[in-house]
Point group: C2
Amino acid sequence: MANYIGIDIGGMSIKAGIVDENGKILCKDTIVPRVKEGQDAIAKDMFDLCENVLAKAGMKKEDIAGVGFGSPGTVDTERGLITFAANLGFNKFYLLKEFGKYWKVKAAVGNDANCAALGETKFGSGQNKQNTFFVTLGTGVGTGFIVDGKILTGHKGGGSEGGHICIRMNGEKCSCGERGCWEAYASATALIKQTEIALQKNPDSIMKECLENGKVTGRTAFEGARRGDKTALKVVNTYAKYVATGIVLLVNVFRPEVIMIGGGVSNAGDILLSRIKKYVSRHCFGNAKINPVPQIEIAKLGNDAGIIGAASLVME
Amino acid sequence: MANYIGIDIGGMSIKAGIVDENGKILCKDTIVPRVKEGQDAIAKDMFDLCENVLAKAGMKKEDIAGVGFGSPGTVDTERGLITFAANLGFNKFYLLKEFGKYWKVKAAVGNDANCAALGETKFGSGQNKQNTFFVTLGTGVGTGFIVDGKILTGHKGGGSEGGHICIRMNGEKCSCGERGCWEAYASATALIKQTEIALQKNPDSIMKECLENGKVTGRTAFEGARRGDKTALKVVNTYAKYVATGIVLLVNVFRPEVIMIGGGVSNAGDILLSRIKKYVSRHCFGNAKINPVPQIEIAKLGNDAGIIGAASLVME
């Protein structure tokens, strides 16, 4: 059985895992990247991490059929180039060229959300499907689209910025500088803001008992809603509609078989998922007999999606 | 040099053309489909049309390397099936199976907007590009996406309904029953409505001299704007922003190299195109140094895009 290394690059930690051809992680290791010391130092950290995880697993380089990297930011997969990734200070970082000096093995690099989409499609909730997309509801809203079994990257990796689809012209200000982006309505950040506003207007809401260290989180509204609080239910209903509006838009364009929802907010589970499903099935374009409404699932791979997805890049 | 037949199926007329491998139409013919007599009659009409165009060109079946069909509605390309096309009364019409009984030649069927996108990409304003999309501004708004050189169809042909991306939640009512669809802002139908409202509010606008048979058309506002009328300029500016908002959204998802704009409204030319270009270059996600802003062009193939696009389906 062939084994691969998947490397999930983040600003706080870089994780590596040895992944078998069934998407199972055999061994994991992690390292804190020396972000302040620049991209050459981070590259060195990543290559050291490969050695570490191999040693930990009792394996040698010869036991590995390929190495895949998932990075935040804009990634030009064809050139093996991380064009830009703010959190890591990457600026035109030719990762695969550097890696090739260190280890001559099949290698690939992709954007992290795209890798997660691929990993979820190969080994998670989108298994055996050719057309899927992945939405991550976290600090921002990330997307990855699988079209006919392949990642959609756009020209030079500039596409797949699904958080920045405009769902309301002249709407809420987004962190990107534009107005009305899906991310400004459907991210955890937006949900927290929506919850805070509702709580200010309704100070008697049960939600005040659901704070964590005195603060609203992405869980507050769901917890209140589970306890039957009307204000919380209203927040959850509206938020679910925001998430679903972007999903409907993307369904009309891509018409996937499965949509996979990940990120911190997806831990809310069925209270969110059931509302999204209802809205999507009612509002997608066309008659469901002609155009099947996609399945919608919570992503299964959780925190391992990054490693498994990166490894998937180099699997045949 | 190989020759192909492209068949552009419409409710009012079915057009066929013999197309060479450079996308040049050598000979054309047309027929009025017997829509009321059902899909078998229409199939017969199409097959007769093939004979007619061959005879007109002095060619035989053996001179043709493939036949492609472009149809409105939902087309399941894998099954050679037109799932549904209201204007033609097609309902689960297995076109390629029927066609195979009549002529054993390489054949394919696709959605007409997708065919136009492919034709424009192979032989029109998107030449030599792998990632493009085509937008047609007519009675509705149609889209076709080319991803890595291939048409994006979605599962069972249910995707690519780009006219029905929601750009304004709770916005204008769309013909599809939903609210806020791009089509409700950017179609010729929407432009006419926007022009009529502006003219009612500003009865002294020069636009009143630009009516055709006493009626506002998709040309009225552009004509008024060219003559320097302030009300008309405002209509044009707002309309261009609506068109551009949908384009920016789709650029953020697909990041193509070229966007091709067709349909009746695109005849307005530079007065519209220049405004769209300006808005898109300012509002696309990310820094233009990292993510190049796509070229935006008026489609070149005009009314022939359907025939050439359909023929392109069967070219290698």
